[in-house]
């Protein structure tokens, strides 16, 4: 068994493995696949039932279970959902492991996984990954149709 507490390096190594086999294109194809196989029945289902608030429901569970340091906000009237990630434990774990390099675009998976799924339900998601080298990022969602 690979413990769920060891998953993040397993994930990072998967991206490296796929890139070695088929370049960045193979990695992005995998991100799209996991978006369809894993994110769709979870985040997609939440959004289908609850609209933009489905984002709140989905990430409320996962970010708490992942022990993230974050602020999360949902405002129905102003039509926005925001995650201000101040300490991503996944990226933080990879940065701490000096003996192994994380996949160079590790954080890129978040941008593909969630955007692709939410777009099907009229939710536009944008990610600001400019500070991801410090395990910080922002994810913004809004209903567009």
């Amino acid at each position: 068994m690979v413990s769920c507490t060891e998953f993040i390096p397993l994930y990072s190594e998967l991206f490296k493995f796929l890139e070695k086999k088929g370049g960045k294109e193979a990695v992005v194809k995998y991100w799209e696949t996991i978006s369809d196989r894993y994110v769709e029945p979870r985040l997609g289902e939440e959004i289908r039932k609850n609209g933009l608030k489905g984002c709140w429901n989905y990430w409320y569970k996962s970010l708490n279970e992942e022990a993230c340091e974050f602020t999360m906000e949902y405002d129905e009237e102003k039509n926005f959902f925001l995650i201000d990630m101040k300490g991503c434990p996944s990226k933080g774990m990879l940065l701490k492991r000096a003996y192994t390099e994380p996949y160079k675009d590790y954080c890129g998976h978040c941008d593909v996984l969630y955007k692709r799924c939410a777009a099907r339900y009229g939710i536009e998601i944008t990610c600001d990954l400019t500070e991801c080298g410090e395990a910080k990022c922002k994810l913004f969602g809004r209903k567009v149709k």
Binding site: M1, V2, E13, N64
Partner: protein
């Protein structure tokens, strides 16, 4: 007209325990994807790369301080999974025997409606065989039950 909702929370890293069991499903989806594209050999290659990259410090410590370090590693991961009662370990002479009555990952995946891929057992067989090699030990899988993930395996000097 009902009031519009406005929700906000703030969490510090220490507010919650790090235990996101859904990662078991994500791990298996990744392994299954590699298996579908590259077959058994691809899964072995991927998990070998993982073990060699991630278990480097553990292997160094085992080489320096012996089988007790490896025994502690298993207790630590099963404690993290809140399933230490499913794990029995014994060091006898130059051999560490690890017995697992049922695998928490397999159980979680099945409970959440995900059937583990045919390659899931490689997270035990390949990862620990590579770890053993890195430690200068031999590895032997005595049994593995694909239905429950129950297993017994040994590491020997």
């Amino acid at each position: 007209m009902p009031e519009k909702e406005h929700l906000k929370i703030e969490r510090k890293a220490g507010d919650n325990k790090y235990l996101h069991r859904d990662f078991h499903v994500s791990a298996d989806i990744g392994i299954g994807y590699v298996g579908e594209l590259y077959g058994d050999q691809g899964v072995k290659e991927y998990l070998t790369q993982y073990a060699e990259s991630v278990h480097k410090p553990l292997a160094e410590e085992v080489k320096k301080s012996g089988l007790g370090v490896l025994e502690k590693y298993f207790h630590d991961i099963y404690a993290a999974e809140e399933c230490e009662d499913r794990l029995t370990t014994r060091i006898s002479g130059n051999t560490l025997t690890v017995s697992i009555s049922s695998c928490p990952a397999t159980e979680f995946m099945k409970k959440s409606g995900h059937t583990p891929s045919v390659w899931y057992k490689q997270t035990t067989e390949t990862v620990y065989a590579v770890l053993a090699k890195m430690c200068g030990l031999s590895f032997s899988m005595k049994f593995y039950d694909e239905d429950t993930g129950a297993a017994e395996f040994t590491f020997s000097k």
